[in-house]
């Protein structure tokens, strides 16, 4: 078996919530050793955002946290205490990269800004993921994914078209976009460092990576002064296209006729052969009518039945998979896209396999998300070489811990 690409890379992960942890999940999947650092007094909020009813250790049993933090190690360190910072910097000296998604001013206020980190390791790579970057007049704005989405133009492009309302994505889309981009930034800096022997401080503003996802809209805006048009589920280049109601409650299928051949196949499939000679202009002009004809047909079928039937006929179509259906999808099952990873404190659930399928190195989920402070001994005594007896002192001082201080116990 080939090695995973990032085997041998060690990352100190100060990130919290979703954007940063999503980045480090990707890096862990690629073989990096990711050490997640939380303070006993300021832990990753996602651990306790949605506590399981009756859970005795809610910080260790949150599926939300555990899904995005698997394959990482947990070290607790109170960075507001001098000894906590000292230990952190000892760790930095043994890491290739530090990643953080604090508000823009926080890392410096903690006393572990770029200049401090460089002293700990001259070629360290620091990835900062503040929502609006580390410089500029908007650096002090506070943002989560949905705020990023609004401020980056994404929400302005999404809408049904008949109500004038811009819509947020159903997930906090800015977070994983920032995360995937940050994972790439880490690797880019590693590639550069291999040649230059120099580290880098990457200032990744999540708003800017989100705006990249709309790149062509900026060409339209700058060349022709265009504002976004809310197209609902239609497409500017082909027709008909839409999301059509199927049999069952809130069941839908997405269908596109990308060219004349797909339209002709669709028209025949839905019993509208008399319309199959319509060209693109004609289909556009009669889009509402075609939508009604299509939906009259789709309403007879479950989404998968409709999609499979249309695919057999040569039409682009897929069921709109909701969060339950996606875990039952036969195609994803056949690809091994879900893995039930054992966890010591909770039942297993289907977690997503790596989306980056290295066909020969085969990234596999290796380990459940770490319990709070689970690797304190391994890292402080094993990696950093401190004597075991120091652990009790650190614990007594609240610098490390195996439970968040003040978190609600079930």
């Amino acid at each position: 078996m080939k090695k995973l690409p990032l085997e041998g890379v060690r990352i100190a992960d100060l990130s919290m919530m979703w954007a940063g942890p999503f980045a480090t999940r990707l890096l862990a999947e690629m073989g990096a050793e990711v050490i997640k650092i939380e303070s006993p007094r300021a832990w990753d909020n996602v651990r306790t955002l949605l506590p399981q009813p009756g859970a005795t250790e809610p910080w260790n049993t949150a599926f939300y946290f555990n899904d995005y933090n698997r394959d990482k190690k947990s070290l607790t360190l109170d960075l507001s205490q001098p000894r906590g910072r000292e230990l952190f910097l000892e760790l930095v000296a043994r890491c290739d990269c530090v990643i953080e998604n604090y508000r823009a001013d926080v890392l410096d206020k903690l006393g572990i800004g770029w200049d401090v980190l460089r002293k700990a390791r001259a070629d360290i790579i620091l990835i900062s993921m503040a929502g609006f970057g580390k410089t500029g007049p908007e650096k002090s704005l506070v943002g989560f994914g949905p705020i990023i989405e609004q401020m980056a133009g994404m929400a302005s492009t999404t809408g049904y078209g008949d109500d004038g309302v811009p819509y947020k994505t159903g997930i906090s889309y800015g977070d994983p976009i920032g995360g995937v981009a940050a994972a790439g930034a880490v690797v880019l800096a590693l590639i550069a460092r291999r040649r230059t022997r120099r580290g880098a401080w990457i200032d990744l503003a999540q708003r800017e990576t989100m705006a990249q996802m709309l790149g062509p809209a900026f060409a339209a805006a700058s060349l022709r002064g265009e504002s976004p048009v809310h197209r609902g589920n239609r497409d500017p280049n082909f027709a008909p296209q839409g999301v059509y109601r199927c049999a069952g409650r809130d069941q839908w299928v997405a269908i596109s006729a990308r060219d004349d051949a797909e339209w002709q196949a669709l028209a025949r499939a839905i019993g509208a052969a008399e319309l199959e000679s319509l060209d693109l202009a004609g289909r556009r002009a009669r889009h509402d009518e075609l939508d009604r004809r299509i939906e009259r047909w789709t309403a007879l079928f479950l989404p998968r039945e409709a999609a499979e039937s249309l695919q057999r006929a040569g039409v682009s179509a897929a069921p709109v998979l909701d969060c339950n259906a996606i875990h039952q999808d036969p195609h994803l099952a056949a690809r091994g896209s879900w893995v039930e990873l054992p966890h010591p404190k909770m039942k297993a659930w289907k977690q997503p396999a790596s989306a980056w399928r290295l066909v020969e190195a085969k990234p596999l989920l290796r380990r459940h998300a770490p319990l709070f402070g689970e690797h304190n001994r391994e890292i402080l005594c094993g990696l950093l070489g401190h004597p075991e007896r120091e652990l009790a002192n650190l614990q007594a001082a609240g610098i490390i811990g195996d439970a968040p201080i003040g978190a609600r116990e079930g």
Partner: protein, 362 residues
Amino acid sequence: MAQGEELPLAGVRVLEIGGGVAAAFATRWMAGFGADVVRSDAGRETLGRDEQAFLLAGKRRVGAGDTRLRELALAADIVVEDGAPGALAARGLAPRDLLRAKPALVVVSLTPFGQTGPAAHWRASNLVAHAAGGILSLTGVAARPPLQNGGNQAWMLLGLNGFSAALAAYFGALMHGEGDWVDISAQDCAAGMLELYGPRAAFDNTEAPRLGNRVHAIWGIFPCADGFAGVCALQRQAPAFFAMSGDPALEDPRFLDPAYRLTADAELGALVEHWFRDKRKRDLLELGEKHKVPIGAVQTPLDLLASPGLAEREFFDPVVTPAGVARVPGRPYLGVPWRAGELRAPAADTEAVARDWLGATP
């Protein structure tokens, strides 16, 4: 901020085969970071003019038959393609064969459904791929159909993953001497990022309704005096949000209790909506900044092109197009050198690339 002299991907050869948005976006940042990205043009250009302005800047373009394409692939460090499964093999460039011939090569294949599985060969538009990834089901309002995002997000997300995965695999090739074939599907990319809704459904089958613009009373988008704006307050920001509002109704201490807020979500939501209604975006953003509350405003690409903050951070690159100079997002982040690029005509660099990559003489 560390700024090296040399572009981080200087000397890296990237071959883009495909013609779609996904492959073009995956290699777009590589070109900006200094890689020699060569795009093998498809027979018919499928990218629109605005897509070309953003996605093709800084790339060289060649016309290549199958034999020449294979030679270029074996001269590359990274190949990125977004054809249907089997399309490369049909041209004599099966990824496994390429890797046998050049073990350090990285081949990244970007498709709607991946290289394997019963739906691998399904036809897909951006909407269809988006539907299969789960995000579509969550977007929009419950009383209406699921709603796609603007801007071909299934393809863009696929391309973004292609960029980062390609670099990861390339770094592995540098460190361990072996490349790989990376199979990435749009469906997998989206299915693994369904926020809390995906894991929750996997854990206890909880349905995730479409919540429109309001997840709860202090997490959503609201109409304001000059458009739409939003707030996303967790429990830790809720007190600051209510305090900054200056509205006695919102400062009702009962709203500080998250359990009470759950029971009074509709009442509180109406108050928040009322509060936003006469505020202007600029004032809202200032309030949020001052009180450290996550407040946003719905901005359009035109707004962003006029943003002093993005101008100060030199976010946009000029790109000369036949229709004038476009301004498009340039470097995705600061801290490593980046170069703006020009647009080249189809096949304009065929001879130069053959010379540079293959040592071929005209």
